[in-house]
Symmetry: C2
Subunit: 68 residues, 2 copies
């Protein structure tokens, strides 16, 4: 099991959070996703450590960016 | 034909606009809906004058409020 916490920029509402959650949840190996709109915090639980680029791609697919 | 312009409060992004557009489009007689997120402006074209409460209900169903 692995947990990673990242910051997403550009989310403004619950619809935005749902879009990010949906895309990240579809990554192979992901078992849980938590998104906090106000802070931009994205927490991902997975069965193994995830490739950073795969996460970035999923967030961008949803229409947002990872900070940093 | 009738056109009415109202102001919706609480929309923050394109997802919000899409929710409002979807609900208002489903009102019987509506032929066109335009939503501008930044101003909150909602413009509705319809085959006849619409009942104000019906519009209000649709906006609230989407999760937002009409101003005033």
């Amino acid at each position: 099991m692995s947990t990673v916490t990242l910051t997403v920029t550009g989310m403004t509402c619950g619809h935005c959070a749902a879009s990010v959650r949906e895309e990240v949840s579809s990554i192979d190996g992901v078992t849980g996703v938590d998104v906090d709109v106000s802070s931009g915090r994205l927490t991902i639980d997975s069965v193994r450590e995830l490739d950073a680029q795969v996460i970035r791609n999923a967030v961008e697919e949803a229409g947002y960016q990872l900070a940093g």
